[in-house]
């Protein structure tokens, strides 16, 4: 059985807007799955339902066993502006009541893996947009999640930062064997990162294509990558 299965999930907002209808998909253990779709199609809502931050109005959301430990990375870095990078990364560990010394070490290690070892005492305002996002990812990884949910985390970044973070994320997810559900509206990003791309319809969102991409390393400028990218783009642009 898959790690997670959504079956005919529906979600309606208080103002009557139907965000999701008949949303069904599965995610396997260790998979990197992207949810791709136009703005407002309900991608983020689906992520919030998976995180347990909202409940579906209809349909079911089933976990293989219990819900695994989750990490969440928002579109904005969502850091505490009054706390330095290390304290921000330590937050989930403090909440889990992990001993101070161990929490410091784990948070420091997570920052180092994101290339920010020398910025542990920097406040968010002293960091660039890309660095803040790295702190946000370090915070999610420090808690050692089994499932990482990411809601368009790199949408606001410049292209070099975005590509650098894509590479790091891919490496870290593989090293830690983390299952990732990644929301994006970038065809290139989804194709580069994912094992599978789930293409969603405009609102109310449901899956209109489930594309498995060839395994193995990807070169952004290779013909094979361009071909995969075209498959994903065609599915996205195909009328529903």
């Amino acid at each position: 059985m898959s790690l997670l299965a959504l079956d005919r999930v529906a979600k309606r907002f208080d103002n009557g807007t139907e965000a999701l209808k008949d949303l069904s998909f599965t995610v396997g253990q260790g998979e990197f799955v992207s949810l791709l779709g136009p703005s407002g199609c309900g991608k983020s809502t689906a992520l919030r339902l998976i995180a347990g931050l909202a409940s579906p109005d209809d349909g079911t959301l089933q976990w293989k066993d219990a819900r695994p430990d989750l990490g969440f990375v928002f579109q904005e870095p969502t850091l505490m502006p009054w706390a330095d990078a290390l304290t921000n990364v330590r937050l989930p560990l403090d909440l889990q009541k992990i001993a101070h010394g161990e929490a410091e070490a784990r948070a420091g290690n997570a920052l180092a893996r994101m290339g920010l070892a020398s910025f542990a005492r920097a406040l968010p305002r002293e960091l660039s947009g890309g660095m803040k996002m790295r702190v946000s990812i370090a915070r999610a990884l420090a808690a050692r999640p089994r499932l990482l949910l990411m809601d368009e985390p790199f949408a606001a970044l410049d292209e070099p930062s975005r590509q650098g973070l894509n590479d790091d994320l891919k490496r870290l997810a593989r090293e830690d064997s983390i299952t990732v559900i990644f929301v994006t509206h970038s065809v290139t990003e989804a194709t580069y990162l994912s094992d599978r791309v789930l293409v969603m319809t405009p609102r109310p969102g449901r899956i209109k294509a489930d594309i498995a991409l060839p395994p193995g390393p990807r070169e952004r400028l290779s013909p094979a990558f361009a071909q995969s990218q075209k498959r994903v783009a065609d599915a996205l642009l195909e009328p529903t």
């Binding site: 969440f72 969502t78 505490m80 502006p81 009054w82 937050l91 909440l95 305002r125």
Partner: protein
């Protein structure tokens, strides 16, 4: 250079106005019981320095007691509101009623209820009433203005309501609270002065009562000296709270940061 100018310019303007005032009083022979010259006010201040300082201390004590009570009640109730929308819906209208009812109208009642034998308590209570609402209102707004994604994240990691309050809501509300404290500091002084006016002879000993007393005796220079001390007290309170705001926010909050050149 700009910093020196921003200090010097108002000082020079003040000195020029004082000179003009002194000159007009001398040239027009304005009697001291109508408008005393600044030099006469300075002489009155020196002559009554000890007693005026005691009055200042009395007003300052009432002001700070009232402010402290308003701070505890305002922040406490704002925290309660942030934890219970029902409580907020129930109590907030009454807080507004308290705010819009003129304190001069309530002061005599409070004096009667608390009793003239506990006049200091009554005065502090009136000062607290005036200062309470800005603290409640701003802190409530600040507690609600915390980044909701950060709150979601805390929930995701299993944080309790109190952990969310302590780690996210209260630090987020700090700039709002400090802004309110600057307003409330001045308002508690106004409350203390109003309370002293209402309490009247034989009970209050603060600067407001000295103003009434000097007015009744036509000692206008002493009246001005007391007024000057009140103004300086207000400025000192504002400066103190501004310093506190700077100390707590200077490293991270937008309001205290200077744009990079």
């Amino acid at each position: 250079m700009k910093r020196a100018a921003s200090l010097l310019l108002p000082l020079l303007l003040g000195l020029a106005l004082l000179g003009l005032w002194e000159g007009v009083v001398a040239v027009r022979h304005i009697p001291p019981y109508v408008l005393p010259a600044p030099s006469a006010i300075a002489r009155a201040l020196i002559a009554n320095f000890a007693s005026l300082m005691l009055s200042l201390l009395s007003t300052l004590t009432v002001t700070l007691e009232g402010f402290a009570a308003a701070l505890v009640a305002g922040v406490g109730l704002a925290i309660a509101f942030s934890q219970s929308r029902t409580l907020e819906r129930m109590l907030y209208p009454y807080a507004v009623v308290l705010q819009v009812t003129p304190v001069v109208a309530i002061a005599p009642l409070i004096l009667i209820w608390v009793g003239f034998e506990r006049i200091d308590l009554a005065l502090a209570l009136i000062a607290a009433l005036v200062a309470f609402f800005p603290i409640l209102s701003n802190t409530t707004l600040g507690l609600k203005s915390a980044d909701f994604h950060l709150i979601d994240l805390m929930r995701l990691y299993g944080a309790s309501r109190w952990q969310i309050l302590w780690r996210v809501r209260l630090p987020s509300a700090l700039p709002y609270l400090l802004g309110a404290m600057k307003i409330a500091g001045g308002l508690s002084l106004i409350g203390a002065v109003v309370a002293e006016f209402v309490a009247g002879s034989g009970t209050a000993t603060g600067l407001a009562w000295r103003i009434v007393e000097a007015g009744n005796r036509l000692e206008i220079a002493t009246l001005f000296a007391a007024l000057l001390l009140l103004a300086l007290l207000g400025i000192a309170l504002f400066a103190g709270f501004s310093l506190l705001e700077w100390a707590l926010l200077r490293r991270w909050h937008e309001s205290a940061l200077r744009p990079q050149p």
